[in-house]
Structures are given as C-alpha cells and as structure tokens.
C-alpha cells in the first residue's frame, strides 16, 4: 500500500511560494489502477512528480512524505527520501510525449540499457527485451531502430515496454495516450491493462479523458485547486458522485442515446495565489451556502471506502436528479437561445 501523509508541494517562483498540492492524505492499495482527474492546474502533475520523487528546484516538499510500502535491497522501507534509487526498477514512468521522449540519434536498444538498472548485464537484458517487446506486439527488430523509424503507436509501445520491463511495483502514467489517435489509444491502454493484470503493479494514470478513466481504472482521485475533493471506486464514483465538482465533471460528458443538453462548468478554478476562504469550489458550486464560504470541508469517508470533501455530500444525489431532469436538446429552441445571447451582449 502506498501511503501519502499530508503532502504539501510548493513551487518557489519570483512572486513567492505557491502550494500546488496542499495537504493530501491518501492510501492507495497494491495492484490497483488509480485514475487522477481534474482541470489543468489542479495539481495532478505535481502530485505525480511527488509520487515519482522527482523533487528539485523550483518544486519542494514543504511537508509530508510518501511511504511506498515496500523495502529496498538493503531492507530499508522506501520513502520519498530514497525513491530515486529505485527509478525504473521499482517505480517507473510513462511520459506523455512518446514522440519526443526518445533520443533521436540513439538506437532504441541503447536507450533501453543506459541507466543504472541495467548496469553490468546489458547483453542479458537486451536478449530479454527482444522477447519482451514481442509480447507487446512489436517485432523484435524494433529495438534496433531509431525512434524516427517507428510510428507513434510503436513508440508508445516502446515506452510502455521500458516502463514495465523491470516489473516495477508502481507505474506512473501522465496522459500516456493523449498524443495518439483513438484506435491506437485503445490498444495501448488495453496493453497496459493486460500487463498490469499479469504483473500486479499499481498504476497511477493521469488523464483528461473521463472515458479512459471509466474503462481502465479501479479507483478515482478527483483533484480541484491543489486538493483532493473525492476519492472512491471508479464504478461508485461514476454512478453516484459525492462531490458536486465530480458530478459536474461527469455530467458534462455526452452519452449515446441521451440527447439532453450538456452543462459546462461555469467559471474557472481559483488562482493558486488567491484562494477563497472556506471551500475552494464554493464560488462555482450550485450547493454552496454561507457555511461553505466560511469553513473548509475536510476529506471525509462518507460511505465506506468513499471519500469526499463536501459539507453537503449527501445532497449531491439530489443535485444529480435536477441536472438529469434538464431539457432535451430537441426541446430547446436554438433561435431563442441565440436571441437571448445577443441581448446579453
């Protein structure tokens, strides 16, 4: 189990210090795929950096640490302090841009064996890599190629191969399929899913695509303005969210056969420099009351295994019903709406 204890991650900028992740407490069970979602700037990438242990100027950890729940070769527990030594052995990373994450002037096989995890046994590793990439649907000669000779999908498979070859306990994937078309995207995700089933790694997946989360992840972590607002099993979360932000995030997704008008989320998230008092979502929340603007809701277990940071988590189902009773697209008079919009201007 990975334990995050009161993580506060801070960026030092010329304007001063700003917390990109503030007070995150989490327990992630082993062999689980956890999806992380939220708007740009909510702190998900920073949380991934902290999890990977890639902390260096301008990012620093103001408080807290990550306990990875396994021990290193010397028998010491692995935490934020010594996770760097385990890079690409016990924890690995799949970057977003496979296109540009491989050195254009080096053969792929050389990039497979130029880090400490392979020191002293490069030949042996390469022989294994050759058979391993075959399992991933690549010809064994693919690793003799230069990056530009492979297609985007093949390159992303190479990235997946690198990240999974050493059978790490933890794999972090930061939008691993964003740059690919949907067909390739699906095959890469299914591949990752297969490998995870076989090896039992814990995968943390950042994506903007709620559809990907729904299909792939077991648990979901929703972030808003540097905080975790909801953490639950994916199925429960999609069926009945317990935070208005999650609800609105999901409700903005179109579904086939459902022609109700979609509501975007009005407004934009608060600047990290000027956090509102109380609940950070309150200015955009239809349920917000005076209490929300005064008092910040903690992340609480409302139902067993379902965490939400909302004073009115119990009212969210009702809000869902109201949204679902919204007008159908076919019932909306578009001309009227346009005339209204013109008047507003």
């Amino acid at each position: 189990m990975i334990r995050l204890e009161n993580i506060v991650a801070t960026y030092t900028t010329h304007r001063g210090q700003v917390h990109a992740v503030e007070g995150v407490n989490l327990e992630i069970p082993d062999s689980t795929i956890v999806g992380i979602a939220g708007e740009s700037g909510c702190g998900k990438s920073t949380l991934m950096k902290v999890l990977y242990g890639d902390i260096g100027f301008p990012l620093s950890l103001s408080s807290g640490k990550v306990d990875y729940g396994f021990v290193n070769d010397r028998g010491e527990p692995v935490t934020t302090e010594n996770i760097r030594d385990e890079w690409f052995r016990r924890i690995s990373y799949i970057p977003q841009s496979s296109m540009s994450s491989l050195n254009p002037v080096m053969r792929i096989r050389d990039q497979f064996v130029d880090f400490p995890a392979t020191a002293g046994r490069k030949k042996e590793v390469l022989a294994q890599v050759r058979s391993f990439v075959q399992k991933l649907g690549l010809p064994p000669q693919a690793i003799d190629a230069y990056p530009h000779q492979l297609s985007g999908g093949m390159r992303q498979r190479i990235m997946v191969a690198m990240a999974t070859f050493f059978q790490p306990e933890v794999i972090l994937a930061d939008e691993p399929t964003t740059a690919l078309d949907v067909v390739v995207q699906k095959s890469i995700l299914l591949l990752l899913l297969d490998l995870q089933k076989e090896m039992g790694n814990t995968i943390l997946l950042v994506s903007h695509d709620m559809g990907v989360h729904y299909q792939i992840t077991r648990k979901m972590l929703i972030m808003y303005a540097a905080k975790v607002v909801e953490y639950a099993d994916t199925d429960d979360l999609f069926q009945q969210p317990l935070h208005p932000y999650t609800l609105m995030l999901i409700h903005s997704l179109p579904t086939i056969g459902d022609d109700r008008a979609r509501h975007g989320l009005p407004g934009s998230p608060p600047s990290l420099w000027e956090m509102p008092q109380g609940c950070r979502f309150a200015p955009r929340c239809p349920l917000a009351t005076a209490r929300c603007r005064r008092e910040e809701p903690p992340l609480k277990e409302h139902v067993r295994g379902r965490f939400s940071a909302c004073h009115y988590a119990n009212s969210v189902p009702e809000l869902k019903k109201t949204l679902e009773a919204g007008p159908k697209l076919s019932e909306i008079n578009v001309m009227e709406l346009m005339a209204e919009a013109e008047r507003d201007i």
Partner: protein, 333 residues
C-alpha cells in the same frame, strides 16, 4: 529516400555549385569598366614615352590577349577558360613571371592548410567541450566561470590578441621566436620540429581567437537541448549526468556545430591573412594579398577558384559525413 539517392543528389549539387561559381568568376571582371590590356599598354607607353610603333603595340596587344586568355569572342574565351580551370591551369603569374600560378598556390597551400586545419579542429574540440559543460551545468558557479572564458576571448580583436601573445611569450618571456625561421631542404625530423616550434605562436592565437565562439554557441545549444523531453525522460530513467551530457545533449547539440566546423574548414584556403602578416607566415593569405596588390590577375583568379573549390568541397564533405551523426538523414524519414 535512400542513401545512394541522397549521395547522388549531393554530388550533383556540388558540381552545379562549382560550375556556377566558376562561371561568375569569369563574367564578373568582364562587367567592370576598363580593359586590363589597355591599362597595361598605357602603363608601358607612359614608361617608354611615345617610342612604341603601332605595330609593336598591336603585337603586345596580341601576346597579352593570349596570356590573359582574351582572344576571340566572349563565348570562345569562356570555353577556353573552363578548359583551363579543369586542368587547374591559371597561366603564369605576372609578379613571379614565368612561374605558373598553380605551382605558387601549391607551394603555399600546405602551410596554410597545416596551420588552419589543426587550429580549427583544436578550437572546435576545446570550445565545444567547455561550452557543453558550461551549458549542461548552467546553474552552477563553476560553469559561469567557464562561460566567462568564452565571453572574454570572443570579442577581442584578433590583431590585439596576437600582439599580446607575441609580447608576452616571444618578447618578455622569449619562449618562442618573434618571426619564424623554417629550416630549408627536404623533410627531416629536425625540420618537422622547427615547423612545430615556429608555428606554435600563430597556432595558439588562432585557437584562442576561435574557440570563444564555439564556447558561446555550444553553451546556448546545450542549455536548450537539455530541456528537451528526451533528456528529461532520460533523467527520470535514472541515467547518470555523464551519460545524459554526452549521449543525449552533446550528440544532438553537436549537429549544427559540425556544420559550422566544416564550413569554416572550407574557408581555410583563404588563409588567415592577419596571422600570416603578423607572424610573417608563408601561407595562401600572403600570396593572395600580394596578387591583389600587384594586379596579378592570374594569381588572383587561381586563388579565387581554389577558394570556391574548397568551400564547395567542404560543404560536400559535410553533406556526406552528416548521415554518420544523424540517423534521421541516414535512414530517411
């Protein structure tokens, strides 16, 4: 695109550039006002008074026209000119008459090539090495010191740098001769030593003057390259700084630097005029200067053609070796 096709294209372009360059050298002087033969004859007449008969003038005119390759119409002249260029025959030099231009050039070429080849390569290696370290560790103090070397050396005018080096090493410390005296005769161990010893000062000044630019540009390239995603990903793989600096940053950042290196190698045959004058070094630069000063057209033609030839050849060599460093060209897109 296949490699063979690539090579054929480059070689074709090479000959095209040579042809165009040599053609321009032919036509450009003919667009200038004035006629070299008339110039020469009026000079002779001025010296000899009016004593030359019209017949003698005509004879002189014909022989000069033959000497300069000016018989016949423009087209015949052009064809003759091309034929001679192919044989590298530029006629006799006027100042060193009757020594052929090609022999004069051949004599001074090894001096220039030897000096400039060595110094250009050395300043490339040293400059890029320093620039790479300064760029890769650009947030450290020591790197700023390295870059400082480049910043200080780069803007110093060459002649001042050379004079300071002469002043310190030759005049005050007396470690090297003020002007070189090369042993005559065939190549021997002693002669080689004397050449190395006498060429050290000019070489030193050329290296110092040359590597500042390499430091600055390599540093800028290294800083930009090290932020590229493949270098960042290599860092997250846990590769060592050394691996990343050499295999990731340098192997990518050196590509434009190789272009600069090979192109500067092409200009070697222009000689290093300032160096050759300051150090009385017997190279191509001095020869060309003498030719220009004395109106020695043939010698000047010869030097210009040699320059075109060497710059174009350098560009061809660059095109042909580039695939070795960049697989994207070697293996096609």
């Amino acid at each position: 695109m296949k490699l063979a096709q690539y090579i054929v294209q480059r070689v074709f372009a090479y000959f095209l550039v040579l042809f165009v360059g040599i053609t321009i050298t032919f036509f450009l002087p003919r667009l200038m006002p004035g006629d070299p033969i008339n110039n020469y004859i009026s000079q002779v007449q001025a010296r000899a008074g009016q004593s030359l008969s019209a017949e003698a003038v005509q004879q002189l005119r014909d022989s000069l026209a033959e000497l300069y390759g000016l018989q016949g119409n423009l087209f015949t002249q052009y064809i003759n000119y091309l034929k001679r260029v192919v044989r590298l025959d530029f006629g006799p030099s006027f100042t060193y008459y009757p020594e052929p231009v090609s022999e004069i050039l051949l004599e001074s070429m090894p001096w220039t090539a030897g000096l400039l080849l060595t110094t250009t390569l050395l300043s490339w290696l040293i400059g890029n090495g320093i620039g790479l370290i300064a760029g890769y560790y650009n947030k450290r103090r020591a790197a700023a010191v390295l870059e400082f070397i480049g910043i200080v050396l780069y803007p110093i005018p060459y002649y001042i740098l050379a004079l300071v080096v002469i002043l310190i090493l030759a005049y005050w410390l007396g470690l090297f001769p003020l002007s070189p005296t090369f042993l005559p005769g065939p190549i021997s161990w002693n002669k080689v030593v004397s050449i190395l010893y006498n060429s050290f000062l000019p070489a030193l000044t050329l290296v110092l003057a040359g590597f500042g630019w390499n430091v600055l540009s390599m540093k800028a390239l290294a800083i930009a390259t090290k932020e590229d995603s493949y270098v960042q990903f290599a860092r997250l793989k846990g590769t060592t700084d050394r691996t990343r600096m050499v295999n990731y940053v340098f192997r990518n950042a050196m590509l434009p630097q190789i272009t600069a290196l090979v192109l500067s190698l092409g200009f070697i045959f222009n000689g290093a005029l300032q160096t050759e004058i300051i150090f009385s070094y017997p190279g191509l630069g001095m020869t060309m200067r003498a030719a220009a000063g004395a109106g020695d057209y043939n010698l000047l033609y010869g030097s210009i053609v040699i320059t075109i030839l060497s710059v174009a050849t350098a560009a061809l060599v660059l095109d042909l070796i580039y695939p070795l460093f960049d697989p994207r060209i070697r293996l096609g897109r």
